[in-house]
């Protein structure tokens, strides 16, 4: 099956589509990290004292970890130690840090997002998706604000939230991911520059999808955004996140934090399409994506659902988690992780069952090609008080080629007798008989592999909101495209 080999080679080597650089003025802080850097970031953003203090506490914690070189090393990843003093921690894509309307945004920036297929104007309006756009470290545009405000929904950049809704930010920031949580969460807490903030008031069903697009543009910078979503009692919101970055031969660091709080009867659905630049075929360059995402089902009968399609980044280190504190609360994690060339992904979830009758579902699909390594790592913990807690986990791996790796590391901790936990995992490759069957129906190798891979991921893609699902399928197709298609 030489053409299958060629196709897989093509898959492994296929180029990154979003690798262009936008030529715009940027206000970039000098490289290096100290208390002064933290103060500089805060002052650029005119932050109040309480915020500065919080950042400094986080910085000191991080500095003590960094001094001990206490980096998280347990993941199945190989990369050299990062020189944290050789990164710029702040870059704004224009000297003007805030915009009152889209008209004020640098046309180059708008053009960038058009090229990424994210129209900030008419098109998205028609689709009914409210978008917040974060380029490098700063939120450049948020659409549909007024429309949302009518429902009492707050959807704005993190900076604006600090300014306009300090009581909410103060109450919730770090309440799900404390600044001491882990090395990269501490770093983010010290230097985070912007991100999205969202609050849905009690009983409100958000009338449209909320969405944030992240883009790293400047060289030598890291991106450290922070997202905070609060769904008050009985509310509902579906939130989408997408990310891309230019092709550069250096590794760039992205260390984000996402916190979600779901109160009684609230439901939050969070979907991600992560397509940061993965580096080239030889494994040079690409984003180091170290992200802490966690939600808490704080109230009874609340629900948090994570869906992700991970195709980008040189390294992905990410475990969107749910703390099931409220009784009868529900946590879900649906993931497709696709790695090729020299990409490495160590991703999965944590489901921490604290409340009674809580239930969680984990479905993870890993696809490895080229010389990549793709690991699922997940924790299911049923605490002693979580009576009648349930979990079902399924982790399937598909191997395309014989030089890649697929790994599964579930951790299952059951601390009472009424908990029911089931975990299943399989690893397989695309079968030659499956390809033959497709061929016999006139379908070529490349198309056959695409069909089979899409079939493999289907139940996850079905979890994505409609507009996103199309995008996701397109992205997967591009990823599989390679030299043949």
């Amino acid at each position: 099956m030489s053409s299958e080999k060629e196709f897989l080679q093509g898959v492994a080597d296929s180029e990154y589509e979003y690798g262009f650089v936008t030529e715009i003025d940027a206000d970039t802080a000098p490289r290096g990290l100290s208390e002064d850097t933290v103060r500089l970031i805060a002052s650029k953003r005119n932050e109040p004292d309480w915020m500065v203090e919080w950042r400094l506490k986080a910085f000191r914690h991080w500095a003590s970890l960094a001094e001990q070189k206490a980096y998280p090393r347990w993941a199945h990843l190989k990369y050299p130690d990062i020189d944290f003093q050789n990164i710029s921690y702040y870059s704004a894509p224009n000297r003007k840090p805030k915009y009152n309307s889209l008209d004020e945004v640098d046309p180059e920036v708008l053009n960038t997002f058009e090229r990424l297929g994210i129209s900030l104007t008419e098109q998205k309006r028609l689709m009914g998706v409210a978008v917040d756009v974060v380029m490098d470290s700063v939120s450049v545009a948020t659409t549909f604000k007024e429309e949302l405000a009518k429902h009492g929904i707050i959807f704005c950049s993190f900076g604006e939230a600090i300014e306009n809704h300090p009581e909410l930010v103060q109450k919730y920031i770090g309440s799900v991911v404390p600044y001491t949580d882990n090395f990269y969460a501490s770093l983010n807490s010290a230097v985070f520059s912007d991100g999205s903030f969202c609050y849905i008031p009690p009983g409100v069903r958000c009338p449209m999808e909320l969405s944030t697009y992240f883009r790293i543009n400047e060289a030598g910078t890291g991106q450290f955004e922070r997202t905070l979503i609060i769904a008050d009692k009985g509310s509902y919101v579906s939130y989408l996140e997408g990310c891309t970055a230019p092709m550069r031969d250096e590794n760039q660091l992205h260390a984000a934090v996402v916190e979600i709080v779901a109160h009684e009867d609230a439901e939050v659905k969070y979907s991600t399409i992560q397509n940061w630049y993965p580096g080239n075929v030889r494994g040079e360059g690409g984003i180091y994506n170290f992200v802490t995402k966690r939600g808490i089902c704080d109230g009874d009968r609340s629900k948090i659902s994570w869906t992700q399609l991970e195709t980008g980044s040189a390294i992905t280190w990410k475990y969107p988690s749910v703390i099931l504190k409220g009784n009868d609360s529900v946590g879900e994690f649906y993931s497709v992780a696709f790695t090729k060339a020299r990409q490495q992904a160590d991703t999965g979830t944590k489901m921490i069952h604290l409340g009674r009758n809580t239930s969680s579902t984990i479905i993870s699909k890993g696809i490895s090609a080229g010389e990549s390594n793709n690991s699922y790592r997940g924790l299911v913990r049923i605490s002693s008080k979580a009576e009648n807690a349930r979990n079902f986990s399924q982790c399937d791996s598909l191997l395309l080629g014989d030089r890649c790796g697929a790994h599964t590391f579930p951790y299952i901790e059951v601390n009472n007798s009424s908990g029911q936990v089931e975990h299943e995992a399989t690893t397989s490759k695309v079968g030659e008989d499956q390809i033959f069957y497709c061929n016999q129906r006139g379908i070529g190798e490349a198309e056959a592999i695409k069909l089979i891979v899409n079939g493999f991921c289907k139940e996850i893609l079905a979890e994505l909101p409609m507009e996103f699902a199309v995008e996701a399928q397109k992205l997967l197709a591009i990823e599989l495209e390679g030299s043949v298609g």
Binding site: S397, T408, P410, H423, A425
Partner: protein, 418 residues
């Protein structure tokens, strides 16, 4: 002063021992953050004062007879506090060329044969307890079956511990089957009249081409003791190795099993059953390193956890890059009977070859209330219904025991325990 160290005049063992001392010094007891001891913080159990090795106190024949497996016709080898006891053993007649007896004796009488197998398979992920045993081991059992020979009856190693003060007892068992040979070994360990016994046992199994090695480890009563065992299994092509680990006793038990099927078409079976109550803590840590293509491994562990007991299962399956056509199946199931009992499972699948069939499953839960209800509606008492369900649960493992009297015996013990 205690008896001589194992090496005596054996230069090879002397060298192995020296490097093991160094290795142990480098590794030390597992630190609190050691990932491979995540759920069993065993290091702290070794913080107090304890003696390393003890002489064997007199043991009466009746004490030994009480530990026999009923109806089992076996070549019996008795070890007390790690020292082989020929006067209590009943080896019986063996096919020509078969060696069975004390490790110390074998080191003197058959050094060339012994040196081919002792410490020959050292896993890449070095473990301090194995190093500790190698460093200080004095005696144990050596069983050697030459090319093409089959030992019809199983060997039964009775491993007794009897110490009056905190003591680390470190027996070592080496079983080697040359090409085409077949051997079954049962190793049962019990502590009698003991105060805080600590057992650090190492067994090395070697199956050459086409050989068959069937090995059972029975962990019976250990009187609040700490038990660490290491079982290293090395296989050549088309060999078949089976291990069955039955744990019914011990306060803290940690079993490390490491398999290296180092030839094509090997068959590897790992079975385990844990029935724990009180504050028992039982940790089974298995690793199968599929280094060659076309091998099959099959792993099944069952845990029944009552009272405040804890079960841990960590099963690593590594399929290396060129190990195509590997079939690796793993399953770990647990029944948690009380709210204070807990189960931690950590299966690990690491796969670098693409043409493989691998799966693992883990399930933890309680006995299905519907089934209990069904049995009760047919007239069974709650207690009997529970027992029936649990026995059925453990049967997949006990049924796989190939030595019939042993299967009966284990079934019996499990029934008593339930």
């Amino acid at each position: 002063m205690l008896g001589a160290a194992l090496n005596g005049s054996n230069a090879f063992l002397h060298e192995r021992r020296r490097s093991a001392v160094e290795e142990f010094e480098r590794l030390g007891f597992p630190a609190p953050k050691d990932e491979s001891y995540k759920y069993t913080r065993i290091g702290r159990l070794f913080q107090g004062e304890y003696a390393v090795d003890a002489d064997a106190p007199p043991i009466s024949q009746s004490q030994i007879d009480a530990l026999e497996v009923p109806d089992l016709d076996a070549h019996r080898l008795v070890v007390v506090n790690g020292h082989f006891q020929p006067e209590h053993s009943r080896i019986g007649s063996l096919p020509p060329g078969v060696i069975a007896g004390g490790l110390q004796d074998a080191s003197a009488s058959h050094p060339d044969v012994l040196n081919r197998f002792v410490s020959k398979f050292t896993a890449t992920d070095a473990d301090p307890f194995e190093a500790l045993n190698t460093a200080f081991v004095r005696d144990g059992i050596f069983i050697f079956v030459p090319r093409g020979k089959t030992v019809e009856k199983p060997f039964h190693i009775l491993n007794l511990v009897s110490v009056k003060s905190p003591t680390l007892v470190q027996p070592r068992v080496v079983v080697a089957a040359e090409s085409g040979a077949a051997v079954s070994v049962i190793e049962s360990s019990v502590a009698v009249d003991s105060v805080s016994p600590t057992l650090n046992a190492v067994s090395e199994l070697y199956a050459d081409t086409d050989a068959f090695v069937d090995y059972y480890r029975l962990q019976l009563d250990h009187k609040a003791g700490t038990v660490v065992t290491t079982t290293n299994v090395y296989q050549q092509s088309t060999s078949n190795a089976r291990t069955t680990t039955i744990t019914l006793g011990g306060r803290v038990v940690r079993n490390n099993l490491r398999f290296l099927p180092d030839g094509e078409h090997c068959e590897t079976h790992l079975m385990g059953l844990v029935v724990a109550n009180g504050s028992m803590h039982v940790d089974n840590h298995t690793s199968v390193d599929h280094a060659r293509p076309n091998c099959v491994s099959n792993e099944l562990y069952k845990n029944i956890l009552a009272d405040q007991s804890t079960g841990v299962f960590n099963g690593r399956v590594l399929v290396r890059q060129d190990s195509q056509k590997t079939q690796a199946y793993q399953s770990n199931r647990a029944v948690v009977l009380s709210d204070d009992a807990r189960m931690y499972s950590k299966p690990e699948l690491e796969i670098y070859a693409d043409d493989v069939m691998c799966s693992h499953g883990a399930a933890t839960g309680r006995i299905d209330p519907e089934s209990i209800f069904y049995l009760r509606s047919r007239g069974l008492s709650l207690e009997d219904a529970r027992k029936m369900m649990l026995q059925a649960f453990s049967r997949d493992v006990t049924d796989s025991i190939r030595v019939a009297p042993l299967r009966e015996y284990v079934d019996q013990l499990v029934r008593q325990r339930l």
